[in-house]
């Protein structure tokens, strides 16, 4: 199988970013493999799940997260976050396997909760940035995320409200 081109990798990551920023979260869930993991570590852990994570979303946890955001009243998302995910520095890493490919990128997430922006906790435009690793499975009908690992720059210091999809 040919290796994934950078253009195709970018197209996929831009598509994911668009789904998240447009709050099309059910479509975002469908981008994952059936055992896909969405992981935001705190420490320099090699293996997910052995230490505390900011987000350690196995499939059902990810479903819970989207259900909570879309179908329940969430005080920390009232008003909701507006986000822009900027994806840069996309590199495709060759892999021994034909069915998987790893794509690395930088992700800059700018977030703002507006509403009455004069109120405490609102009206503050925040930036979250980190390096991201997507391990993608090359299915016949397209790419699927087996692992999305986002290592935030500020992962081990105080983070206030990361209840939107990072």
């Amino acid at each position: 199988m040919q290796s994934l081109s950078r253009a195709d990798a970018e197209a996929f990551l831009y598509h994911e970013a668009e789904l998240i920023d447009e709050w099309r979260l059910e479509d975002w869930l469908k981008l994952f493999t059936e055992d896909g993991l969405y992981w935001l570590p705190i420490g320099d852990d090699k293996e997910p799940g052995e230490n505390t994570s900011i987000i350690y979303d196995v499939p059902v946890r990810r479903e819970e997260r989207v259900f909570r955001l879309l179908e329940t009243p969430v005080p920390s998302q009232a008003p909701p976050s507006r986000t822009i995910h900027s994806v840069t520095n996309v590199r495709v890493q060759s892999e021994p396997s034909d069915s998987f490919v790893t794509v690395r990128s930088y992700q800059t997430i700018t977030e703002l909760r507006s509403g009455d922006f004069r109120q405490t906790g609102l009206g503050e435009q925040r930036t979250f940035v980190g390096h991201c690793e997507h391990r993608l499975r090359r299915d016949p009908d397209g790419l699927r995320i087996a692992l999305k690992k986002l290592v935030l720059l500020n992962r081990d210091i105080s983070i206030r409200n990361l209840t939107f999809i990072a």
Binding site: S53, E64, T120, N161, L162
Partner: protein
């Protein structure tokens, strides 16, 4: 005519925490006045036992971690003889911090400014270019200063700036047996802070989270979304608290039987009983051996109490609840940092500890399904407090139905503000005692 800004008014404690028959009100200023915050740092964080760490964070001789007593930075060290020391993180020379790392191993701390060296028990060991610059016996008093008292209970390290304070154990009061029940879930009777903490800060007063930790009234409103996640998904992605192997229905019923206690020392306790019939599920499940051993050792009645979902807020700055140690750090009158350490139960099956960790992640941390919503309330509080035309916060719920306990504390329905009143009574007592 002279201007009398509000801060110049005398601080009359009886006008800040107003108590009377059927009345319990706290003044707006307690949450917004920087002058009151300064006195709190002196008389509360400098006036009683303050949590600074757990022994599992400094297991080996030479280990250290940094912490705060109020706004004062400290280093907590373990010397070669095994003793735990608490040292103010401030060079006696020109006030630089001598330790900039959150934790590590060091037998000495070298001040980065002029190179003075202190041993990890605080003694001054070396002054650079010493000869001729100071008297020969001059350096004896100039080691790192220390708070007057350091005591530990079940590995929890507390320091107290007051020499004449009652013992830590005496000050823990009822909280002690609640801590015991949590820690006895470890077959070795010990917890271990082996996982990374979640850290968050909020724009609000430190007392908000102290009150919130033992608030049983807010759950159905603030955490409605989490209850809905539990209703739809059950425990599919993790157990929150100790309703392990109980159905969501049983969980809802046991919530209704929760009670709380407001302690004379200012601590707040709350317990949600464990559904009795769910114990059989535990004794047949994945960790049957582990639970059977606890059942044999403590008996069913005590085991049920141990399995309960408990919240133990040790005034002023540490709480033990679910599988976490929660540490509260006041930064300014309207800024507070909270560090939440998930803990492991030593000797329990590894998978059980991992399950508890993931259950913890489900609710806590900046992306959890619960805690960010509590923190959002603090922003709302701080915003509302800006309407300082309104003088009082009202903490009168349950005043007419709370009852005394054998231990000299007060108990009530878990939605009542009994623990919150205990907090403010302790606040008043300490604020009224000059250092």
């Amino acid at each position: 005519m002279t201007l009398q800004p509000p801060q110049d008014r005398d601080l009359d404690l009886d006008q800040l925490v107003l108590e009377g028959p059927g009345t319990f009100r706290v003044h707006t200023r307690n949450y917004t006045d920087p002058a009151i915050f300064q006195v709190e740092m002196d008389r509360i964080f400098g006036g009683t036992w303050v949590f600074v760490g757990h022994e599992s964070e400094i297991p080996e001789p030479g280990a250290y971690k940094t912490a705060y007593m109020g706004v004062q930075p400290v280093i907590v060290t373990r010397t070669d003889d095994g003793t735990v020391n608490v040292l103010f993180n401030r060079c006696r020379h020109r006030a630089s911090v001598v330790c900039r790392e959150p934790k590590g191993t060091a037998n000495f701390f070298r001040c980065p400014y002029h190179g003075w060296v202190y041993a990890n028990d605080g003694r001054l060991k070396g002054v650079s270019y010493r000869r001729g610059a100071y008297e020969d016996d001059w350096d004896k008093p100039w080691g790192l200063q220390k708070p007057a008292r350091v005591e530990t209970y079940r590995g929890l390290i507390f320091a107290n700036m007051r020499e004449e304070a009652p013992s830590l154990v005496e000050n823990l009061g009822m909280a002690r047996e609640w801590i015991d029940r949590q820690f006895n879930m470890s077959p070795e009777g010990e917890i271990e802070l082996r996982y990374d903490p979640h850290v968050l800060d909020y724009h609000g007063n430190w007392k908000f989270i102290v009150e919130n930790t033992v608030d049983g009234y807010h759950g159905n409103f603030v955490h409605e979304s989490f209850w809905k996640v539990q209703e739809k998904f059950g425990t599919a992605s993790g157990q929150h608290g100790s309703y392990v192997e109980a159905s969501v229905d049983e969980l809802i019923k046991s919530r209704a039987r929760t009670f709380n206690i407001g302690c004379k020392e200012g601590h707040g306790l709350a317990r949600q009983p464990y559904p009795e019939n769910a114990v059989d599920n535990l004794l047949k499940g994945e960790f049957a051996d582990y639970y059977r051993e606890l059942d044999d050792r403590y008996g069913r009645e005590e085991l049920l109490r141990m399995l309960s979902n408990t919240f133990t807020m040790v005034f002023p700055n540490v709480a033990i609840l679910h599988s976490q140690i929660r540490v509260i750090r006041p930064i300014s009158v309207d800024r507070t940092e909270v560090t939440v350490y998930p803990f492991a139960l030593k000797g329990a099956p590894e998978q059980l500890n991992i399950n508890r960790l993931h259950g913890h992640e489900r609710f806590y941390g900046p992306a959890g399904f619960g805690m960010p919503d509590d923190v959002e309330m603090f922003a709302l509080n701080q915003q509302g407090l800006a309407a300082n035309s309104v003088d009082w916060l009202i903490l009168e719920r349950g005043l007419t139905r709370e009852e005394p306990t054998e231990s000299g504390d007060l108990t009530s329905d878990h939605t009542d503000e009994t623990p919150q009143r205990a907090i403010h009574r302790a606040w008043k007592r300490l604020m009224g005692s000059p250092s």
